[in-house]
């Protein structure tokens, strides 16, 4: 479904990505992990066309994504969330969700300005759809709340809901459970599984919580210093000596989450 081939990105003197290649097949949940600064978010920013790569190819369902502008990506069925929240803080939750439905608004600006029935009906239908999703996730009480007043974990969930309303085929999640407590993380894991299984949405996610990633992803790609150092199922990744050295640290098991700090320490140890 998604093929990334020899993707390189250089920021001045920093080689953020060095000939990164991987694929994501339809229906998979793929995790992208690696120490801070490994280039995970850069991969997302390149797929969503925020950056122009210095080399390589990104092909989605046979189409060269590098020919497209950022705002055209969503029409192809790729939607992303942001590491540091892409919600619009001065809008209500409902309004945020309705921006997620932007691609389904086609009423002519003049029809909108004159308040024509077609434009009103469209607004009404989209609102109903967003409210349906809020009710589905038992968050309907939040509809009129302003986003900036909500807890971080809730904001992450709202952003995921907004992405879903954009009707993705491939969903890119940048740290979907950062700032969540254990119960929220478990609920999020179930929800992502459900999105994948019941709604047929392929998922590529970046996350530092190893328990979460290992328990959820069909396949894991490990980046370090802009290179893919390993790829495979959770068990394979945990045993891979290079991954342990670069990121996981010794004694990693699914039962024990590894903090970012530990990962950074092990990276320092290696560089020494």
């Amino acid at each position: 479904m998604l093929t990334v081939r020899d993707l390189s990105m250089r920021f001045g003197g920093l080689q953020a990505l060095d000939r990164v290649s991987f694929t994501v097949s339809e229906g998979e949940i793929v995790g992208l992990i690696g120490p801070n600064g490994a280039g995970k978010t850069t991969v997302f920013n390149l797929i969503s066309r925020l950056y122009e790569p210095t080399g390589g190819q990104i092909v989605f369902c046979g189409e060269d994504l590098l020919r497209l502008r950022s705002y055209q990506i969503v029409e192809r069925g790729i939607v992303r969330t942001f590491q540091l929240l892409g919600l619009f803080p001065y809008m209500t939750v409902l309004e945020n969700l309705m921006v997620g439905e932007h691609r389904d608004f086609w009423a002519h600006p003049l029809a909108v300005a004159l308040g024509m029935p077609s434009a009103r009906r469209q607004e009404h239908d989209r609102r109903a759809q967003a409210l349906w999703l809020l009710r589905f996730l038992k968050r309907e009480a939040l509809a009129d709340a302003f986003v900036f007043a909500l807890p971080y974990g809730t904001q992450k969930l709202i952003e995921l809901m907004r992405a879903l309303l954009a009707r993705p085929r491939l969903l890119l999640l940048d740290e979907p459970v950062a700032g969540m407590n254990a119960a929220e993380k478990a609920a999020m894991r179930e929800f992502i599984k459900r999105i994948n299984r019941d709604w047929g949405i392929t998922i590529l996610l970046v996350e530092h919580d190893m328990n979460f990633v290992m328990g959820l992803c069909d396949r894991i790609i490990v980046l370090s210093y802009g290179r893919v150092i390993a790829e495979g199922r959770a068990e394979e990744i945990q045993q891979n000596p290079e991954v342990i050295a670069a990121y996981l640290g010794e004694g990693m098991s699914v039962a024990r989450p590894v903090k970012c700090a530990t990962a950074r320490l092990s990276r320092c140890a290696r560089s020494r």
């Binding site: 969503s48 925020l50 502008r69 950022s70 705002y71 055209q72 990506i73 969503v74 029409e75 939607v79 992303r80 942001f82 892409g86 919600l87 619009f88 803080p89 001065y90 809008m91 309004e95 309705m98 921006v99 997620g100 439905e101 932007h102 691609r103 608004f105 009423a107 600006p109 909108v112 300005a113 004159l114 308040g115 434009a119 607004e123 989209r126 907004r162 954009a166």
Partner: protein, 319 residues
């Protein structure tokens, strides 16, 4: 009372208002109506789309001259000249849209400043003084529809009221639609907005066209109310005045712009009795509003609303 009832009451008050006021106050109220449109036009651009303009007086001038000349030189009827003036002004709005694609807030402000100055300097040039009337300007005919001439203060008031209310509804429709949400989305998180399919070029163009349209109509109404138009009216001072209306009323809020425009139109007239102290009092009033109502007059009322439950009962949420 529900929102509709309040709006109906407000409309009724606006309709009977001329019977309770002196001719001159009615005239000032009409002028305020034109200013409301200009402030709302600038607010949609600045408060919603986040594009700063301190050259909006140019759009007032273009709208005013266009409407006047369409009537005097081409003999068009008012009901045709007015919307055409709006449309032509909205096209000139695209001139500002081009630098806006590359410049961010404060740099765009300078570009719009240049645009405003250029338009004001171009109008009185001798090459076309036969049309634009040079520095003296031109007489603007009274609005006329199907032989009926609007020439008393209250006739002009009702005409202005209808045009302003109609365009406020248009502004409200746009602000509350996917287009208004796209403006805000691009203003606050451009990357996230684009990732959701919002084309920044397209929506910036919409913002400039809509803003220039409303301001152009405001300029045309103003010119027809005053009966005369000259380039001297449209300096930086005028642009700053509209800017101040938006900020004082509350940036990003349409009711705020209505408030701001009414306040800044009437304030000079109330203070005129103070003669020599006038400018001082005007400035002091502005400073006080900015200090004690940092979210504008409208934002101040919204905060009061949330602080006092009794008020919330009187005006239920959503009103």
């Amino acid at each position: 009372m529900p929102r509709r009832a309040w709006l109906a009451l407000l409309a009724a008050v606006l309709v009977v208002l001329p019977f309770a006021l002196k001719g001159y106050t009615i005239y000032i109220l009409s002028i305020a109506g034109a200013n409301v449109l200009a402030a709302v036009g600038l607010n949609l651009l600045m408060g919603y789309a986040g594009q700063v303009s301190i050259g909006h007086a140019a759009f007032l001038a273009i709208g005013g001259y266009t409407s006047a000349l369409l009537m005097t030189k081409l003999g068009l009827e008012f009901w045709l000249a007015l919307p055409l003036a709006g449309v032509l002004t909205s096209l000139t709005g695209l001139i500002l849209f081009i630098p806006a694609l590359r410049l961010s807030a404060i740099y765009l402000a300078i570009a719009t400043l240049g645009f405003g100055a250029a338009v004001q300097q171009l109008i009185p040039l001798p090459y076309w003084s036969a049309v634009f009337g040079g520095h003296q300007g031109i007489k603007v005919p009274r609005p006329q529809i199907a032989g009926f001439v609007f020439d008393t203060d209250w006739e002009l008031y009702y005409l202005t009221l209808v045009v302003v209310l109609a365009l406020l509804i248009v502004s409200w429709n746009v602000a509350r639609s996917y287009i208004g949400r796209a403006f805000i989305a691009l203003r606050d998180k451009p990357a996230a907005a684009e990732a959701l399919g919002i084309n920044p070029t397209k929506y910036k163009a919409y913002a400039f066209v809509l803003s220039a349209f409303l301001t152009g109509i405001a300029g045309a109404l103003h010119a027809h109310l005053v009966g005369h138009i000259s380039p001297g009216e449209f300096g930086l001072g005028k642009s700053i005045e509209i800017f101040a209306m938006v900020i004082l009323g509350g940036i990003g809020s349409l009711p705020g712009s209505i408030f701001g425009a009414l306040l800044l139109t009437f304030l000079p007239h109330w203070l005129a009795q103070a003669k020599l102290l006038y400018t001082f009092l005007y400035g002091a009033a502005l400073v006080l509003v900015i200090i004690f109502m940092p979210y504008g007059v409208w934002g101040f009322f919204v905060r009061l609303y949330y602080r006092f439950p009794a008020v919330q009962k009187l005006f239920p949420k959503g009103a």
